[in-house]
Protein backbone atom coordinates (compact mmCIF):
# COMPACT_ATOMS: atom_id res chain seq x y z
CA UNK A 1 0.00 0.00 0.00
CA UNK A 2 2.72 2.41 1.04
CA UNK A 3 4.86 1.37 -1.91
CA UNK A 4 1.95 1.90 -4.29
CA UNK A 5 1.32 5.35 -2.82
CA UNK A 6 5.01 6.12 -3.24
CA UNK A 7 4.93 5.26 -6.94
CA UNK A 8 1.68 7.18 -7.44
CA UNK A 9 3.20 10.21 -5.74
CA UNK A 10 6.33 9.95 -7.86
CA UNK A 11 4.22 9.85 -11.00
CA UNK A 12 2.18 12.82 -9.87
CA UNK A 13 5.33 14.76 -8.98
CA UNK A 14 6.55 14.28 -12.53
CA UNK A 15 3.52 16.21 -13.82
CA UNK A 16 5.38 19.35 -12.76
CA UNK A 17 7.55 18.79 -15.81
CA UNK A 18 4.59 19.73 -18.05
CA UNK A 19 5.02 23.34 -17.08
CA UNK A 20 8.78 23.24 -17.51
CA UNK A 21 8.43 21.75 -20.98
CA UNK A 22 5.86 24.35 -22.01
CA UNK A 23 8.03 27.12 -20.58
CA UNK A 24 11.18 25.99 -22.40
CA UNK A 25 9.21 25.70 -25.62
CA UNK A 26 7.85 29.22 -25.18
CA UNK A 27 11.31 30.63 -24.52
CA UNK A 28 12.83 29.13 -27.65
CA UNK A 29 9.83 29.98 -29.82
CA UNK A 30 10.16 33.57 -28.66
CA UNK A 31 13.91 33.41 -29.37
CA UNK A 32 13.33 32.21 -32.93
CA UNK A 33 10.59 34.76 -33.56
CA UNK A 34 12.62 37.66 -32.25
CA UNK A 35 15.77 36.56 -34.07
CA UNK A 36 13.76 36.42 -37.30
CA UNK A 37 12.56 39.97 -36.66
CA UNK A 38 15.90 41.43 -35.68
CA UNK A 39 18.86 39.19 -36.52
CA UNK A 40 21.37 41.84 -35.46
CA UNK A 41 20.89 41.31 -31.71
CA UNK A 42 21.11 37.53 -31.98
CA UNK A 43 23.93 37.13 -29.48
CA UNK A 44 22.27 39.24 -26.81
CA UNK A 45 18.95 37.46 -27.27
CA UNK A 46 20.63 34.07 -27.06
CA UNK A 47 22.24 34.83 -23.71
CA UNK A 48 18.86 35.97 -22.34
CA UNK A 49 17.26 32.83 -23.75
CA UNK A 50 19.85 30.60 -22.08
CA UNK A 51 19.22 32.35 -18.78
CA UNK A 52 15.47 31.89 -19.16
CA UNK A 53 15.95 28.30 -20.23
CA UNK A 54 17.95 27.53 -17.10
CA UNK A 55 15.42 29.22 -14.84
CA UNK A 56 12.50 27.38 -16.46
CA UNK A 57 14.34 24.08 -16.44
CA UNK A 58 15.18 24.44 -12.76
CA UNK A 59 11.50 24.62 -11.78
CA UNK A 60 10.86 21.38 -13.62
CA UNK A 61 13.88 19.77 -12.05
CA UNK A 62 12.60 20.63 -8.57
CA UNK A 63 9.62 18.34 -9.20
CA UNK A 64 11.79 15.71 -10.84
CA UNK A 65 14.03 15.77 -7.78
CA UNK A 66 11.00 15.22 -5.53
CA UNK A 67 10.07 12.28 -7.73
CA UNK A 68 13.54 10.74 -7.41
CA UNK A 69 13.50 11.27 -3.67
CA UNK A 70 10.13 9.53 -3.41
CA UNK A 71 11.31 6.63 -5.52
CA UNK A 72 14.74 5.96 -4.09
CA UNK A 73 14.92 7.16 -0.53
Amino acid sequence: MLAAAKYLGAGLACSGLIGAGAGIGLIFSALIASTARNPQIKGQLFSYAILGFALAEATGLFSLMICFLLLYS
Binding site: I50, L55, L61, M65
Partner: protein, 257 residues
Protein backbone atom coordinates in the same frame (compact mmCIF):
# COMPACT_ATOMS: atom_id res chain seq x y z
CA UNK B 1 15.86 -10.24 -15.92
CA UNK B 2 14.29 -6.96 -17.03
CA UNK B 3 12.40 -4.74 -14.66
CA UNK B 4 13.97 -6.41 -11.69
CA UNK B 5 13.04 -4.02 -8.93
CA UNK B 6 15.26 -5.60 -6.33
CA UNK B 7 18.25 -4.64 -8.43
CA UNK B 8 17.21 -0.99 -8.51
CA UNK B 9 16.58 -0.76 -4.80
CA UNK B 10 19.98 -2.20 -3.87
CA UNK B 11 21.92 0.05 -6.24
CA UNK B 12 19.99 3.22 -5.58
CA UNK B 13 20.92 5.96 -8.06
CA UNK B 14 21.13 8.38 -5.15
CA UNK B 15 24.00 6.37 -3.73
CA UNK B 16 26.52 8.35 -5.77
CA UNK B 17 25.79 11.52 -3.75
CA UNK B 18 26.70 10.02 -0.40
CA UNK B 19 29.56 11.64 1.45
CA UNK B 20 31.79 8.92 2.85
CA UNK B 21 34.91 9.15 4.93
CA UNK B 22 38.02 7.96 3.11
CA UNK B 23 40.63 8.59 5.78
CA UNK B 24 39.64 9.22 9.34
CA UNK B 25 41.21 10.10 12.63
CA UNK B 26 39.18 9.77 15.80
CA UNK B 27 40.93 10.58 19.01
CA UNK B 28 39.72 11.43 22.49
CA UNK B 29 41.84 14.59 22.67
CA UNK B 30 40.18 17.88 23.66
CA UNK B 31 36.85 16.19 24.17
CA UNK B 32 36.43 14.27 20.97
CA UNK B 33 38.58 15.00 17.97
CA UNK B 34 37.39 13.86 14.57
CA UNK B 35 39.42 14.69 11.50
CA UNK B 36 38.48 12.84 8.36
CA UNK B 37 39.09 13.24 4.66
CA UNK B 38 35.74 12.68 2.96
CA UNK B 39 35.28 12.24 -0.76
CA UNK B 40 33.77 15.74 -0.74
CA UNK B 41 37.01 17.15 0.66
CA UNK B 42 39.09 15.08 -1.75
CA UNK B 43 37.16 16.33 -4.78
CA UNK B 44 37.24 19.91 -3.49
CA UNK B 45 41.03 19.65 -3.34
CA UNK B 46 41.02 18.10 -6.80
CA UNK B 47 38.93 20.98 -8.16
CA UNK B 48 41.32 23.47 -6.58
CA UNK B 49 44.28 21.63 -8.08
CA UNK B 50 42.67 21.55 -11.54
CA UNK B 51 41.80 25.25 -11.48
CA UNK B 52 45.28 26.27 -10.35
CA UNK B 53 47.03 24.00 -12.82
CA UNK B 54 44.76 25.14 -15.64
CA UNK B 55 45.69 28.74 -14.98
CA UNK B 56 49.34 27.81 -14.59
CA UNK B 57 49.31 25.93 -17.90
CA UNK B 58 47.51 28.70 -19.72
CA UNK B 59 49.91 31.29 -18.42
CA UNK B 60 51.26 33.27 -21.32
CA UNK B 61 54.60 34.09 -19.70
CA UNK B 62 54.65 37.39 -21.57
CA UNK B 63 55.27 35.60 -24.83
CA UNK B 64 54.26 37.51 -27.93
CA UNK B 65 52.36 34.60 -29.49
CA UNK B 66 49.91 33.09 -27.01
CA UNK B 67 49.32 29.36 -26.82
CA UNK B 68 45.93 27.81 -27.57
CA UNK B 69 45.23 27.36 -23.85
CA UNK B 70 45.98 30.98 -23.25
CA UNK B 71 43.63 32.10 -26.01
CA UNK B 72 40.83 29.90 -24.66
CA UNK B 73 41.24 31.16 -21.13
CA UNK B 74 41.45 34.76 -22.23
CA UNK B 75 38.25 34.48 -24.24
CA UNK B 76 36.49 33.10 -21.16
CA UNK B 77 37.92 35.97 -19.16
CA UNK B 78 36.79 38.47 -21.79
CA UNK B 79 33.23 37.17 -21.79
CA UNK B 80 32.98 37.25 -17.98
CA UNK B 81 34.54 40.68 -17.98
CA UNK B 82 31.97 42.00 -20.45
CA UNK B 83 29.16 40.40 -18.43
CA UNK B 84 30.32 42.04 -15.20
CA UNK B 85 30.81 45.38 -16.94
CA UNK B 86 27.35 45.19 -18.46
CA UNK B 87 25.67 44.43 -15.14
CA UNK B 88 27.71 46.35 -12.59
CA UNK B 89 29.45 48.98 -14.68
CA UNK B 90 32.75 48.52 -12.88
CA UNK B 91 35.29 45.76 -12.40
CA UNK B 92 35.51 45.73 -8.62
CA UNK B 93 33.70 42.40 -8.31
CA UNK B 94 35.32 40.77 -11.33
CA UNK B 95 37.82 38.59 -9.37
CA UNK B 96 35.04 37.20 -7.19
CA UNK B 97 32.72 36.50 -10.12
CA UNK B 98 35.55 34.97 -12.17
CA UNK B 99 36.68 32.62 -9.43
CA UNK B 100 33.09 31.68 -8.61
CA UNK B 101 32.47 30.84 -12.27
CA UNK B 102 35.58 28.70 -12.53
CA UNK B 103 34.91 26.92 -9.26
CA UNK B 104 31.38 25.92 -10.25
CA UNK B 105 32.32 25.11 -13.84
CA UNK B 106 35.23 22.85 -12.92
CA UNK B 107 33.24 21.25 -10.08
CA UNK B 108 30.38 20.45 -12.46
CA UNK B 109 32.64 19.21 -15.23
CA UNK B 110 34.70 16.90 -13.03
CA UNK B 111 31.41 15.42 -11.84
CA UNK B 112 30.69 14.23 -15.36
CA UNK B 113 33.52 11.73 -15.19
CA UNK B 114 31.93 8.33 -14.47
CA UNK B 115 32.25 7.10 -10.87
CA UNK B 116 33.45 10.44 -9.64
CA UNK B 117 31.81 12.62 -7.05
CA UNK B 118 30.30 16.00 -7.89
CA UNK B 119 30.82 18.45 -5.08
CA UNK B 120 27.89 20.63 -6.19
CA UNK B 121 25.47 17.72 -5.69
CA UNK B 122 26.15 18.03 -2.00
CA UNK B 123 23.58 20.49 -0.65
CA UNK B 124 26.14 21.74 1.83
CA UNK B 125 28.28 23.17 -0.96
CA UNK B 126 25.59 24.72 -3.13
CA UNK B 127 23.38 26.09 -0.36
CA UNK B 128 26.49 27.19 1.53
CA UNK B 129 27.66 29.16 -1.51
CA UNK B 130 24.31 30.82 -2.09
CA UNK B 131 23.82 31.69 1.60
CA UNK B 132 27.30 33.15 1.78
CA UNK B 133 26.60 35.25 -1.28
CA UNK B 134 23.24 36.48 0.01
CA UNK B 135 24.63 37.41 3.44
CA UNK B 136 27.56 39.20 1.80
CA UNK B 137 25.24 41.06 -0.57
CA UNK B 138 23.01 42.14 2.32
CA UNK B 139 26.02 43.40 4.28
CA UNK B 140 27.24 45.20 1.16
CA UNK B 141 23.88 46.89 0.68
CA UNK B 142 23.69 47.88 4.36
CA UNK B 143 27.20 49.30 4.36
CA UNK B 144 26.64 51.35 1.20
CA UNK B 145 23.13 52.65 1.89
CA UNK B 146 22.97 52.37 5.69
CA UNK B 147 19.29 52.41 6.72
CA UNK B 148 18.16 53.41 3.23
CA UNK B 149 18.82 49.81 2.27
CA UNK B 150 15.39 48.91 3.64
CA UNK B 151 13.74 51.09 1.00
CA UNK B 152 14.62 48.16 -1.24
CA UNK B 153 11.62 46.33 0.20
CA UNK B 154 9.20 49.11 -0.69
CA UNK B 155 8.89 49.61 -4.44
CA UNK B 156 8.58 53.28 -5.40
CA UNK B 157 5.08 54.61 -5.92
CA UNK B 158 3.33 52.17 -3.64
CA UNK B 159 0.12 53.37 -2.01
CA UNK B 160 0.48 53.48 1.76
CA UNK B 161 -2.24 50.91 2.38
CA UNK B 162 -0.36 48.29 0.40
CA UNK B 163 3.01 48.85 2.08
CA UNK B 164 2.77 46.14 4.81
CA UNK B 165 1.71 43.51 2.29
CA UNK B 166 4.34 44.47 -0.27
CA UNK B 167 7.11 44.59 2.31
CA UNK B 168 6.21 41.07 3.35
CA UNK B 169 6.18 39.83 -0.25
CA UNK B 170 9.47 41.55 -1.11
CA UNK B 171 11.10 40.25 2.06
CA UNK B 172 10.04 36.68 1.32
CA UNK B 173 11.19 36.93 -2.27
CA UNK B 174 14.51 38.39 -1.10
CA UNK B 175 15.04 35.55 1.35
CA UNK B 176 13.89 32.97 -1.16
CA UNK B 177 16.77 34.01 -3.41
CA UNK B 178 19.19 32.47 -0.94
CA UNK B 179 17.51 29.11 -1.34
CA UNK B 180 16.62 29.27 -5.02
CA UNK B 181 20.15 30.13 -6.11
CA UNK B 182 21.65 27.11 -4.39
CA UNK B 183 18.77 24.70 -4.94
CA UNK B 184 18.81 25.46 -8.67
CA UNK B 185 22.42 24.34 -8.99
CA UNK B 186 21.88 21.39 -6.67
CA UNK B 187 18.68 20.20 -8.38
CA UNK B 188 20.14 20.48 -11.85
CA UNK B 189 23.19 18.46 -10.94
CA UNK B 190 21.32 15.85 -8.87
CA UNK B 191 18.58 15.34 -11.45
CA UNK B 192 21.06 15.08 -14.30
CA UNK B 193 23.33 12.60 -12.56
CA UNK B 194 20.43 10.51 -11.26
CA UNK B 195 18.92 10.37 -14.72
CA UNK B 196 22.21 9.24 -16.22
CA UNK B 197 22.65 6.60 -13.52
CA UNK B 198 19.13 5.21 -14.08
CA UNK B 199 19.58 5.14 -17.85
CA UNK B 200 22.98 3.52 -17.47
CA UNK B 201 21.45 0.84 -15.23
CA UNK B 202 18.85 0.05 -17.90
CA UNK B 203 21.51 0.03 -20.61
CA UNK B 204 23.71 -2.29 -18.57
CA UNK B 205 20.85 -4.74 -18.12
CA UNK B 206 20.05 -4.64 -21.83
CA UNK B 207 23.67 -4.96 -22.93
CA UNK B 208 24.17 -8.00 -20.72
CA UNK B 209 21.21 -9.78 -22.33
CA UNK B 210 21.33 -11.76 -25.58
CA UNK B 211 23.46 -10.65 -28.53
CA UNK B 212 20.58 -9.35 -30.68
CA UNK B 213 19.22 -7.28 -27.82
CA UNK B 214 22.71 -5.97 -27.14
CA UNK B 215 23.10 -4.87 -30.77
CA UNK B 216 19.68 -3.24 -30.76
CA UNK B 217 20.58 -1.42 -27.53
CA UNK B 218 23.11 0.62 -29.50
CA UNK B 219 20.16 2.76 -30.64
CA UNK B 220 19.18 3.93 -27.14
CA UNK B 221 22.88 4.13 -26.34
CA UNK B 222 23.33 6.92 -28.91
CA UNK B 223 20.48 8.74 -27.17
CA UNK B 224 22.33 8.27 -23.89
CA UNK B 225 25.45 9.81 -25.42
CA UNK B 226 23.33 12.78 -26.52
CA UNK B 227 22.07 13.14 -22.94
CA UNK B 228 25.68 13.13 -21.75
CA UNK B 229 26.33 15.98 -24.16
CA UNK B 230 23.34 17.78 -22.67
CA UNK B 231 24.80 17.21 -19.20
CA UNK B 232 28.05 18.86 -20.25
CA UNK B 233 26.05 21.80 -21.59
CA UNK B 234 24.03 21.96 -18.35
CA UNK B 235 27.26 22.05 -16.33
CA UNK B 236 28.33 25.10 -18.26
CA UNK B 237 24.91 26.78 -18.30
CA UNK B 238 24.45 26.34 -14.56
CA UNK B 239 27.81 27.93 -13.81
CA UNK B 240 26.89 30.80 -16.13
CA UNK B 241 23.43 31.26 -14.60
CA UNK B 242 24.79 31.15 -11.05
CA UNK B 243 27.30 33.83 -11.90
CA UNK B 244 24.88 36.05 -13.80
CA UNK B 245 22.35 35.89 -10.94
CA UNK B 246 25.08 36.71 -8.42
CA UNK B 247 25.93 39.72 -10.57
CA UNK B 248 22.34 40.88 -10.60
CA UNK B 249 22.03 40.48 -6.81
CA UNK B 250 25.16 42.56 -6.29
CA UNK B 251 23.71 45.11 -8.68
CA UNK B 252 20.48 45.20 -6.66
CA UNK B 253 22.44 45.79 -3.48
CA UNK B 254 24.47 48.60 -5.03
CA UNK B 255 21.71 50.39 -6.91
CA UNK B 256 18.58 49.44 -4.89
CA UNK B 257 16.32 48.66 -7.87
Amino acid sequence: MFGNQQYNIINSPLEQFEVTSLLGLNAPILGYLNISLTNLALYSLLVLFIIVSLHYMANNDTKLVPSKWSIALESVFASINSMVREQLGKELYLPFIYSLFFFILIANLTGNIPYSFTITTSIMVSIGLSFTILIAVTILGLSIHKLHFFSYFVPSGTPLALVPLLVLIELVSYLARAFSLGIRLFANMVAGHTLMKILATFLYQMFSGSLIVAVLTLIPFTLFLAIMGLELAVSFIQAYVFVILTCSYIKDAIELH
